[in-house]
Amino acid sequence: MARINSPAELEKFRKGILSKRDPHKPCIAVCTGTGCLALGAAKVVTAFKEEIKKKKLGTKVDVVDVRETGCPGFCERGPIVVIYPEETCYLQVQPGDAEEIVSQTVLAKKVIDRLLYVDPTTGEKIVRESEIPFYKNQMRHLIGNNIKIDPKSIEDYLAVGGYSALVKALGQMTPEQVVELVKDSNLRGRGGAGFPTGKKWEFTRNSPDQTRYVIVNADEGDPGAFMDRALLEGNPFSVLEGLTIGAYAIGSHEGYFYVRQEYPLAVENVTLAIKQAEECGFLGKNILGSGFDFTIRVHRGAGAFVCGEETSLLMSLEGKAGEPRARPPYPAVKGLWGKPTNINNVETWANIPLLINNGAGFLTSIGTEGSKGTKIFSLVGKVNNTGLVEVPMGITLGDIVYKVGGGIPGGKKFKAVQTGGPSGGCIPEKHLDIKVDFDELKKVGAIMGSGGMIVMDEDTCMVDVAKYFLNFLTGESCGKCSPCREGIRQMLKILTNISKGKGREGDIELLEDLSEATRDASLCALGGSAPNPVLSTIHYFRDEYEAHIKEKRCPAYVCKELISYHIDPDKCQACMICLRKCPAEAIAGDKNQIHIIDQEKCTKCGTCFEVCPSRFAAVRRISGEPVPPPIPEEARMIIRESKGKKK
C-alpha cells in the first residue's frame, strides 16, 4: 500500500476505494469475533467460500463478497451472519446452512424463515438486523460498525469514513482546541473511575516535561466484561485513530497499547492494524503531511488483573511486577519512566473520532446531567440475550435487563445485577428503575466499572457471590500492602466458613470492620474497592447471610456443604437417566428399582436435578434440614402394570 502524504491524497484514495465498491453488491458478513469463532464461525466462513467457488460466483464477475467481521454483540445467538445490502440477519448459522443461504437469500433474494429471530412475545419473525429488539433498543455508535467491516482491512475502515477525524484534528484544529472539545463533551473515562477525560488530557498537556506518553489500557480484567475485546478485535482502527488524535492534543509522540495476553485475537488485530496504519502513513513521521510524528507499540500483559490499575500497568510496561505506585504524583505528572503519561480505556479512545467528526454536542445531547454519551455493557449471566449492548447513559437498569436483554431465562425470578466487577456491587430488584449513570450507580452502592453487567436469578447465592469475588481478589492482589493482602485473606476465611456452615454470630460485624480498614488504608483501588461486593450483598441480602450462619441453610441451594440432593421415592420412576449421567456414579438403582443417591459419593454437581424428566421431578434439593434416610431395599422394587405402578 502506498504511503498517503496529505489529506487530499487520502480523499483520493478513499474515493478510489468507494468507487470499486458497489453498495448493491451482495455481501455475506460473518462475525468472526472470539465468541462466534468458539461456536464454529470459521467453519461457516469456509462453507460460504466453498459454496461460492462451487457456484463459480467469485471468478470473473465478482458477484458476492464474504466478509469476516468483528463482534456485533448478539453473542447468545452466534454464529451471526448478515446479508447486505438487505441487512438480512441470520442467527445460529451452521456450515450446513451455507448452501441454502447462498442460493435462496443471496441469489434468489428469498428469506429463510428458520434462521430468523423470532420475537418471544409476538412470535413475529424479524428480517432486518436493526429491527431485532436486541439491537433496536440500543444506540450503537461505537460498535455499530463491527458487523460491517473486516478488522484486518484498513480499506474497509476508510470506506466507512475512517481517519476523517484525524484529518480534521491535524489540519483544522490546534492541540488546545482538541482538548477543549473533549472537555466540552463531558466525556468521562470508560475504564471504571469515570474521571473527566478532557481534564486528564489537560493535566498531562500542562506538565512541563516535553516527553509525554499516551497509553491504551486494554487489560480488560473484570471477569464477565468483554467490551474492549469486541472493539479491539472488531474495529481496532477506531481506537488507533482516537489514540493518534489524543497524542496530538497532548503533545505525545510515543504511544502504547497494553493488551492482555488472554486476548490473542485482539493482540493480532491491533498489531496488524498498526502495521497497516504505518504503511499508509497514518502513523510514523509527518503524518498526512502535518508535521506530527507518532509511533505506537503493542505490549502484552502477562496475566495479572491488577495491571488494569493504571500505575500497575505502568510498572508492567517498565518490565516490573505490577505493584501499584502511590498517588500523588499522578501519571499525568509522573508516569511512564517518570514522564507525564495519559492512560485511557479502549472505549474512551474509541469515542474520540466520533467527537471530532460530530462535535461536542454529539455526546452532550445523549445521557444524563453527569454522564454523557453511550456506554457499552457486557450483559451476561442469567439473561436471555447475553452479549454486548451499547446504550445511552440514563437508560434504566430494568430496560437493559428486560427490553434489551429479554429478561430471565427459564421463567426464573430476577435477583440482582452485579456491575463493576470485583470493585462493584449488586443491585437488587427494588432499584431496577434507576438510571444507569456514574453517580446514580454509586448512590445504590455499586459502580459503573468498565461495563460488566452480570444478571443473577433466584438460583444465585449472594454469599457465594461475595466469596467468589474475594477469592478472585485474593489471587489477584499484588500483595504489597497489608490492608489488602491480609484484609481480603481474613474476609475470605470468614465467608468460606459461612458458606460451609461454620459461620458464627459476629461474623457479619467482623466483615464490616475488616472492610472499613481495607477500604480506607489500601495502597490502590483494588484493595480500596475490594470490600464493595461484600458490603453491598450484606446491605441488600443480609437475610441470606443470616440463613447461612444461623440456620446452616443456603436459600439458593448453591453452597455445597449446605445442600444435598435427594430422590423422592414417591416420584421416582426408575428411568435410569440420572443414574447414567451421574459423573460420580453415586446413584444406585435399576430399571425397576427406585434410585437412591449415595450421599458419601455425591459431589453435588446437580446433574441429576437437571436431567430428571420434568414430568417426574423426582430429584429435590435440601438445605438446612437432614436428608431422609434411604428407604429399605425391599420397598424400592417397582412392579409395573400396564398403567400406574405398585410398590
Binding site: G475, E476, C478, G479, K480, R485, A521
Partner: protein, 204 residues
C-alpha cells in the same frame, strides 16, 4: 526549594517542597509509627501503619505519611478515631503472623490490638520488605526478592547469589522485625547451596 506550611495535629509545621508528611512530622518532633520505613531506604508504603487522616482540597481520607507529599494548607491528624481503629486492625492482622515480634507487641499495646483476634497464620513474615529493599538499594546485590502475589507473596533468596554474598554480609538480619529472614536464610542454605561453594567462617 520553596517552603510549605501545613498543619499537623493542630501545630503549624514548616516543610520543604517534596518532603513527605512523615519527614515533616519528624522534623517537628511529632511521632508517627512505622514498620516498613527505614532512613536508608526509599519509602515503601506497604505496612500502612503510618496512615494519617488528611483534609486536602475538600476531601478527607487516610494516606500513608511515609509517601504522601506535603501540600500547603494540608491539615493532618496523626491520631483520630478512624486512624486508631485502622491501625488496631492492621496490627491484629500482622500479629496473626508474628505475635511475638517486639515492634508489633509494642504497637499492639498502644492501640489495644488483640493478638488472638485472628487465627494464627502459617508464615511469620509480615512482608515489610526491609530485607529485599536493603539488599537492592544499599548493598546492590539483589540476593533476596519477592515471589508470587496476593496472599501467596513471600520472600525468597536467590541461591546463586546468596551462596556467594550472604555469608560475609548478613547486614539485613538485624532489620527483620520478626526473625523470619534468618529462618528463611538458613533454610535456603540447607537446601540449596552446594557444599563446595560455602566460604569458610571468617571468624567474625
Amino acid at each position: 526549594m520553596s517552603e510549605i506550611l501545613l498543619q499537623i495535629d493542630g501545630t503549624e509545621v514548616k516543610a520543604a517542597e517534596g518532603m513527605t508528611i512523615l519527614k515533616a512530622a519528624q522534623s517537628a518532633g511529632i511521632y508517627i509509627p512505622t514498620l516498613c520505613h527505614h532512613e536508608k531506604l526509599e519509602p515503601y508504603g506497604a505496612c500502612r501503619i503510618c496512615v494519617v487522616e488528611v483534609d486536602a482540597r475538600g476531601r478527607k481520607g487516610l494516606v500513608a505519611a511515609c509517601l504522601y507529599p506535603v501540600e500547603s494548607d494540608l491539615v493532618v491528624r496523626t491520631r483520630s478515631e478512624k486512624v486508631d481503629k485502622t491501625r488496631k486492625i492492621l496490627l491484629e492482622q500482622l500479629l496473626a503472623h508474628a505475635p511475638d515480634a517486639p515492634a508489633l507487641k509494642d504497637l499492639a499495646q498502644q492501640y489495644g490490638a488483640d493478638k488472638d483476634r485472628f487465627a494464627k497464620e502459617s508464615s511469620f513474615c509480615i512482608l515489610c520488605g526491609l530485607c529485599v529493599r536493603y539488599c537492592a538499594e544499599v548493598k546492590k546485590k539483589n540476593a533476596v526478592g519477592f515471589v508470587d502475589r496476593g496472599a501467596s507473596r513471600e520472600i525468597n533468596f536467590v541461591p546463586e547469589i546468596a551462596s556467594e554474598e550472604c555469608w560475609n554480609c548478613k547486614e539485613c538480619f538485624p532489620l527483620c522485625p520478626t526473625s523470619y529472614l534468618q529462618a528463611a536464610y538458613h533454610l535456603t542454605e540447607a537446601l540449596a547451596f552446594p557444599r563446595a561453594a560455602l566460604k569458610p567462617a571468617s571468624g567474625k
